[in-house]
């Protein structure tokens, strides 16, 4: 975390875990878990979601960084919307399904990158002339991004549009959790643990 951002946004942080596992069709137990989650999630849940502490914390943070969470949706609210529109949490393969399950279970914002293409992740604001991978234009100075040692790799909460590096041949996945003020550490740990267990299940499971 860049120090000036840490001072400006106490509680903001990023935690990540790199796992063995590439993209592909989700195994049956993951798809069943998605179906079970769909059965437990109704329209009224979506409405009352924003009153729960963790989803509320992300809505507040979106407001604080200039985004409207009713237009640029928080990860949990985006999934809730898709659940209502599609009638279920649709399987989109791994690692997406693992992230969806962990996000719905905990409310924590997660995103995935190709583990072999990213280094140590941090959150910082951009300097002049910086751009994102596979994007031509420069980012406006001061844009909040997730970055590694080489430079920005994605806008903060830009998971729906930005590069992830994950391709058919990817063999490792880095799952990153963005923590904001009001999101307890235990929720972040649980989100990463759920995602890790589904992407790279323990040998004895």
């Amino acid at each position: 975390m860049a120090p000036q951002l840490g001072a400006e946004f106490p509680g903001l942080g990023i935690a990540s875990v790199t796992l063995d596992g590439g993209p592909g069709k989700s195994p049956e137990d993951v798809r069943r878990r998605l179906r079970d989650l769909s059965d437990r999630f109704y329209g009224s849940h979506a409405i009352h979601l924003r009153e729960r502490p963790v989803p509320w914390a992300y809505r507040v943070f979106f407001r604080q960084i200039g985004l409207d969470p009713d237009r640029t949706r928080t990860p949990i609210e985006q999934l809730a919307l898709e659940r209502l529109q599609d009638g279920a949490f649709k399987s989109r393969g791994l690692p997406n399904d693992a992230l969806s399950i962990a996000i719905v279970e905990t409310g924590v914002a997660l995103r995935a990158f190709d583990g072999d293409q990213v280094g140590r992740l941090c959150i910082r604001d951009t300097g002049p002339g910086e751009s994102l991978p596979e994007e031509g234009g420069e980012l406006a100075q001061g844009t909040l991004v997730i970055a590694d040692e080489r430079g920005p790799i994605g806008r903060l909460f830009g998971e729906r549009t930005d590069w992830s590096g994950i391709e058919r041949l990817s063999r490792r996945v880095t799952v990153a959790a963005v923590q904001v003020n009001g999101v307890p550490q235990i929720a972040v740990d649980e989100a990463l643990w759920i995602a890790a267990e589904l992407i790279d299940p323990p040998a004895d499971s």
Binding site: E8, I47, F62, D125, T143, F157
Partner: protein, 155 residues
């Protein structure tokens, strides 16, 4: 007296202050207002759809300045005021409809053909109360009116 005058010399007013503290306070206010708005949205559901959208002040995510944070706070406060007004109007309308329904139940002939749904009185479900003549045209000619209560949502 001279001692008092020296001690009383005003210090220069610090106008810049620590803006970070002001921004932190604005962020706290935004959090509180967001919670109030979320409560109102949830309270209104499903009777009333409240627009909780507050126009984004930035194209990309970034640390907002004091003026921008004030703008977000003021827009949120405006949304909350609109939401409270809309909810109060809705409550008034539903109260009036409930009174009308009770009057219709007591005197069906005074409210011929009037139909009030559960949604009109702020109740869940699809049923309605309908003032209709008993025995069709005969009842209409004879003034035999009654309130028919529908059973609920169609399958």
């Amino acid at each position: 007296m001279s001692d008092l005058l020296v001690k009383g010399t005003p210090l220069p007013l610090t106008v810049d202050g620590d803006e970070r503290l002001a921004r932190a306070e604005l962020r706290r206010q935004i959090g509180r207002l967001e919670y109030q708005l979320s409560r109102l949205v949830a309270e209104a559901f499903p009777r009333l759809e409240i627009d909780s959208g507050v126009a984004a002040v930035a194209v990309e995510p970034r640390a907002l300045g004091l003026g921008e944070l004030e703008l977000v706070r003021d827009r949120l406060a405006g949304r909350i005021a609109d939401a409270r007004e809309a909810l109060a109007s809705r409550d008034e309308l539903e109260t009036a409809n409930r009174e009308l329904r009770d009057d219709m139940l007591a005197k069906p002939a005074d409210h011929k053909w009037l139909r009030i749904s559960r949604a009109d009185v702020g109740e869940p479900g699809c049923g309605h109360w309908h003032s209709r003549p008993r025995f069709g045209v005969l009842g209409m000619l004879m003034g035999w009116w009654r309130v028919k209560i529908s059973s609920g949502c169609p399958l």
